[in-house]
Amino acid sequence: MIKRFLLILSLIIFASLSIKAQQEITGKVLDENNEPIVGANVVVKGTTNGTITDLDGVFRLSAPEDAVLLFSFVGYTTKEVVIAGQTNVELVLTPDENALDEVVVTALGIEREKKALGYAVQDVKSDELTATGDANIATALQGKVAGVIINQSGSGVGGTSRIEIRGASSLSDNNQPLIVVDGVPFNSADQGEAGIWGGVESSGGMADVNPQDIENISVLKGPNAAALYGSRAGNGVILITTKKGSSKGLNINYNGNVTISKLAYYLDLQEEYGQGREGAYDRFETSSWGPKMEGQMLESWTGETIPYSAQTNRLEDFTRTGISQNHNVSLSAGGEKGTIRVSAAKSIENGIYNDHKVDKSNFDLRAVYDVTSWLNVDAKASYFLTKGQERPEMGYYSYVSYFNAMPMNIRSIDLQPGYDISPTGEHVEKLYTTANANYRNPYFLEAQTYNSDERYRGFGYLAASIKFTDHLKLRLKYGLDFFREGGENGYYYADNVSSSRPDYNTRQRFFKEENAEFLLSYNKDFNDLSLSINFGGNRMYNYEQTLTSHSGRLPTEGNYFLGFGSNITSEENFIEEEVQSLYGFAQVGYKSMVYLDITARNDWSSTLPIDNNSYFYPSVSLSGIISEMVNLPDWFNYAKVRGSWAQVGKGTNPYNVKQVFTIGQWNFDLLNGNVPSIKVNEDLKPEMSSSIEFGTDLRLFNNRLGLDFTYYDEQTNNQIFAVPTDWSSGYDAKLINAGLITNRGVEILLNTVPVKNQDFNLEVNFNYTKNTTMVEELNEILKVYDFEKLNNGIGAIAIEGEKMGDIRGSVYLRDDNGAIIVGGDGLPRTQDSLVSVGNIQPDFTGSIMLKANYKGFYLSALISMQQGGDIYSSTEASATASGNSTRTTANNRMSFFYDGLQEDGSINNQLISAQQYWGRISGITEEFIYDASHMKLREIAIGYTFPKSLLAKIPTQPFNSARISVVGRNLFYFYKHTPGTIPDASAYSNSYSAQAFDFSPVPSTRTYGFSINIGF
């Protein structure tokens, strides 16, 4: 059949060739910079006779004298040239700013014309991601997509980020979007083990992806866009498309960058008062309530008599300059039948704490080949090796927390190296007081703690696409993502805080996910109608196994392995889950004017009770191209309106439907039975979210102005989450299906090109996101849901009927007129119960992306901002208790009468000291709530692209292209309100509630560097 088809085809071609008189035409195709375009298509109009331009942009073609030649190239406007006897044609193609045929990757990896979509999809191109050499795409995406809020946790290099698309919708804080690489789900689970009381954070899957391998990232923002990814796509999907080989012959490319990061943003501390109590010096005190520091000679805690003066550089002394480098070499080759691309990358990131380092290696292979005219094979294999070491302790007890609480006169030099060596050779913490969890020597802690981890990961797929007819295709795909992760951590030395140190802990984790799928597609155009009908299925299976072992207290320092331990314990954990799905979707297009999409999917999840494990969800969307329907003025280039409705169902975590007991070894080597404290639910139903979305795309003034507007309304109900239960029932919590969370918002993208001419091009793009997450319903008995909180109850909560994310804390006790009530001790009192003192949700967020090109020079800058939202500075609260925060120097620390009323209404007559006052204030949450609004220069890159003409002058012409740039990240804040700390990257983890606190376990840095890119 194929042979016959080819025979007919060649006969037709032969026939067409033989009819007209032929002549040979040569020519050259150039781009807007007069550089040759390689691989441009040149076709004789109305025929299949054509060629492509070579490396010099030159083509050679036989064509009839009266032929019309069509010149086309991706991203450029197609041009027609009437030959009219010419034999030499040189022409310049202009970039296609209309980009009306812009193709975006949508669910299941299907490329679609953007204009045909009834929902918002925003994509980010490779060069925007890699502009400043960020090795982590999660942070590189920050501020670049409307509706997507990415917050780094304060965990330094290799740390975690919180990604929220169109707001949080989950009470169990399962908000992270699904990451899909070339159509295959890519495990993104961060190894965020840190909680409010400690642990380390290490970035998971997303940071494994090498930014240089990425062609583009397309963000599907809501259930509408993601309906076809099913269960896991309820929080949106980040679709990463990696680079393929080029069909234009051989390309070798090198990219590299080196950046340095320096301590930049941390809590402001006072520099006037030092160690002591109530104004009197005491060399063993733990706080700065002593006398003024004026360089007077005093006996210090070490016994030495030294000048008593402010130590302002302790954090600088403690940290280093973190140097990071990324290198990437890629080779791509290909021809008509197929392409191949291989790349190798190495990234070494050093944090600002000593020995904190993340080292990534990555190899990637992608091959696409047309085996026959009806069979195409596409395969990818990637290997990732990520090693981390000395990741810093997060949470309440970080290095920084000890510096913030330390009397201001304590010298770094006296704390270093953190320990004394005892006569028996043991490391003993040295400190100005007895060390306990609240007072530690950070140098000792740094020396005492250790951790390292390694993740070996393989990812890839094999896909075959079979073309039965021109209209009917079948795609089969098997994708695999697996990794083995190992790590160890513990304490090298004994300390006063826990009797189980020194110790050694080790863990092993194995993860795999398999996705097998098929998709049968029928596509056909009937005159004005285009039709596409698809039917597919997927089987997702994932399995995870974790083994953790602890040595218990080791008898001495020096040997760190399990066998040396006194109380070896182990835990293992398994997770197994399968989801089977069948789905269908259809698109109908009319005259490139109106497009209708319908999808339907049914999932069967192993995590739900057998009777409830099947769930169905549909979606429908419509898009109309107004500019195709009516005649708009010339300056109105394009107008589209769109709308859609969708549902997505969701299973739960494994093992939520059957009550069991666990058994483990406990003290005295005895087996111990445990009764799990969560009551499972044998009647769980799938979670459902549904959304409606409307939007419009407009292009005006020769495409110099573009506006993309979206309004959405998403509802998530029937959520499966654990609610606290009355303890008298025998359980601490129970799983229920309940709740209704809504996210309503607006996303606006405004693209402007204020200047555009031969030499100078300026593009300024604005992103605006406004999202409000409301807790419409919880359940009958639960009206307030607590996320993680501090011991004193401060933390983020969800209150029924209100905006999610209130920060709950203590406030002053006031009388009816608002006057503050003081107690018998003359100190302001607080209300007995905690109340809402703020909310973490911003009013809106936005960014401004600026791109300028002048001849070979270019500048890109990203400014991001947030308006509204609150943050609780727990760092400042504890620094206030210890007399270190700047506010504690008010009024020269004189004793005073607090301006308040006694309970009986009389004026307060009790004198209080500054120490008493600030000690009380430190416990009043509302005093430390700050507006998290800020605007900052997130990224900037200034570079130069060498013209080809210049590179051509180098002997032997080794370089095909070359670009150098200087880059910077987080250089400065235009404004912010927090006391020295930053409001946007200080959380102790990427959990929801962590966003309420400015712990900044690793202070935020400024990063500078340079980057080069060379094509061979």
């Binding site: 194929i2 009806w374 007895t434 306990n436 969890a437 079979i466 039965f468 079948l474 006063n496 189980s500 097998a516 098929f518 299925g537 089987r539 006194s566 109380n567 293992e572 954990n573 398994f574 197994e576 889950e577 399968e578 089977q580 069967w604 192993s606 057998i610 494990n613 494994p654 093992y655 439907v657 059957k658 069991v660 007991f661 666990t662 058994i663 406990w666 003290n667 005295f668 005895l670 087996l671 111990n672 039975g673 445990n674 009764v675 009551k679 606290p724 009355d726 303890w727 008298s728 029932s729 025998g730 359980y731 008995i781 011991n791 107690g823 018998g824 001790d825 007995d832 119960s833 008493q916």
Partner: protein, 515 residues
């Protein structure tokens, strides 16, 4: 090509029809869990659990309220309440301990050879129930931990039921040959000795009977008499205490007083060690106590002092600067409950033999049983001396210097309870209960006053713990009406068996409410 097409479609159909969901149930069952547990695995955990999270559940409240210990860093000494601290005990009792206890009963209910094991579980479960109700008063009892919110039951009905259950349990320990044992591994308290459990069960009946002496003396008398005749503890070998593993994690007194350095021994307690005998210092003092200097344990003689002096209770703002130098417990002496041995770090007391002798002394004083109250009183002191490891001569000297019981019943009771309080050190749970019942010995109000956040009237003593937030949030409708709001749920509210406030003590130092 058509062939291929048909072939592929067939494969797809096979795939689609084959991939059914029948293995989902197995897949969704945890591999590392079980649906049934050998009750012994629950029982040893339950024994340790009553002292787990000791700092939060016990030390910060009863141990301080009984004035055995005092904070050196501010905390609960001023009668404040922190939900995450003792509220935790409520949670552990209902969500863990009780479910394990039920499980043992359910698993072995129909096994005739397990009736002694069930009786032992019953005795121990009643022990923790009594601690719970003595902490809060009315609590969910009869329907508790059955999966749904439970009603609150009155303390009187709980006491009645506990006494009935304990009687049945001790009678079920018959010594029959066919009875199985928890074994010396999993029974950490009596190493499988059912007869010791029986004597502990009767001693517990005596303790609970005495607890209701002022509110229901008739029941108290009959239960006390029955318990004594059924057989209570007979020697220090019968002491009920839970070992803490030297290799495991515990927060017990060694952490609070040494590693974490949060507390010292109370001055109220140390004062009594020098005031109760004409012989002078209580010879138990150097075995129980020591000083901490530069992290090391030193005796009073080592640093030229003549007494062990603790810290006053209830400092908040005016904490003395020498607070760290006050007396602490002696972890390296010869008192085994503190110093431990082998793989045992320390022992937590459930009930001392001396307590049982003091209980009998009081029962005799009350005329419930016949006997010599004074002799029992002195033998209670002797038993404690022996238990702590005081040598015979020193013990005799001290006891000889202790006045014989004399005067009014109240005066005699005050002497008994004072010596009982000393002997019960460091069993703060029991000492605080005795103080609330009898208002003896003479304790002190918090030196810096009562915390502004506390729900205890100025000049009065704390009488109970308020219900945890969990209950106020989720089970308030079931609470007793007198306590069913955060305002009403006060910590100076007297429990059913606590008939009078200590502040009403007469100028002669005696109450009028104990007889």
């Amino acid at each position: 090509m058509k062939k291929i097409f048909i072939y592929l479609v067939s494969i797809l159909l096979i795939w689609a029809t084959n991939s059914c969901t029948k293995d989902f149930e197995e897949m969704n069952t945890r591999k590392d869990a079980v649906t049934e547990v050998n009750p012994a695995y629950f029982f040893s955990g339950m024994q340790q659990q009553v002292f787990a999270n000791y700092q939060r559940n016990v030390n910060l409240y009863p141990d301080i309220y009984s004035q055995y210990f005092a904070n050196i860093i501010g905390g609960s000494s001023n009668y404040g309440y922190v939900d995450g601290w003792i509220g935790n005990q409520f949670k552990e009792h209902y969500t863990e301990f009780l479910r394990k206890s039920y499980n043992i009963n359910e698993t072995w209910a129909d096994e005739p050879t397990y009736s002694e094991l069930l009786a032992i579980n019953e005795i121990f479960t009643c022990y923790w129930w009594s601690r719970m109700t003595d902490t809060y008063g009315d609590i969910p009892y009869f329907d508790a931990s059955r999966g749904e919110s439970a009603a609150y039951d009155s303390q009187s009905s709980i006491y009645a039921d506990l006494l009935t259950r304990l009687e049945a349990a001790v009678n079920n320990i018959t010594g029959a040959e066919d009875q199985l044992s928890y074994g010396d591994e999993y029974d950490l308290i009596y190493r499988g000795d059912a007869q010791k459990w029986r004597r502990f069960g009767n001693s517990l009946r005596l303790r609970l009977a005495m607890r209701i002496s002022n509110v229901d003396p008739t029941t108290a008398q009959s239960v006390a008499a029955a318990a004594i005749s059924s057989g209570v503890m007979t020697s220090n070998d019968d002491v009920a205490k839970v070992p803490m593993s030297a290799n495991g994690w515990y927060d017990y007194l060694h952490q609070m007083l040494w590693n974490w350095d949060n507390e010292r021994v109370s001055k109220t307690f140390t004062d009594y060690l020098y005031s109760e005998s004409s012989a002078g210092e209580d010879p138990r003092a150097p075995l129980w106590l020591t000083y901490k200097r530069d992290g090391e344990s030193v005796s009073k003689e080592d640093i030229g002092l003549t007494e062990y002096v603790g810290l006053e209770n209830g400092y908040n703002e005016n904490m003395p600067s020498d607070r760290n130098d006050r007396a602490t417990i002696n972890l390296v002496g010869s008192y085994e409950d503190f110093s431990g041995e082998g793989d045992v770090q320390m022992y937590c007391p459930v009930m001392f033999y001396s307590e049982v002798l003091f209980l009998q002394a009081e029962a005799t004083l009350r005329g419930w049983v016949s006997g010599d109250a004074n002799a029992l009183y002195k033998s209670g002191i002797q038993a404690s001396m022996d238990y702590v490891g005081v040598d015979a001569t020193n013990a005799q000297n001290y006891i000889d210097g202790v006045a014989n019981l004399t005067g009014s019943n109240e005066a005699q009771l005050k002497s008994i309870i004072t010596q009982k309080w000393i002997a019960n050190f460091p069993n703060g749970v029991e000492a605080w209960a005795d103080f609330r019942r009898t208002d003896y010995p003479d304790l002190t109000l918090p030196i810096d006053g009562i915390s502004s956040n506390a729900t205890v009237a100025a000049g009065t003593y704390v009488k109970r713990i308020r219900y945890p937030d969990n209950q106020h949030n989720l089970n308030q409708e079931n609470m007793p009406q007198a306590l069913n709001s955060l305002d009403k749920d006060r910590m100076d509210f007297k429990l059913w068996w606590d008939v009078k406030g200590t502040e009403l003590k007469g100028t002669n130092g005696l109450m009028d409410s104990n007889f």
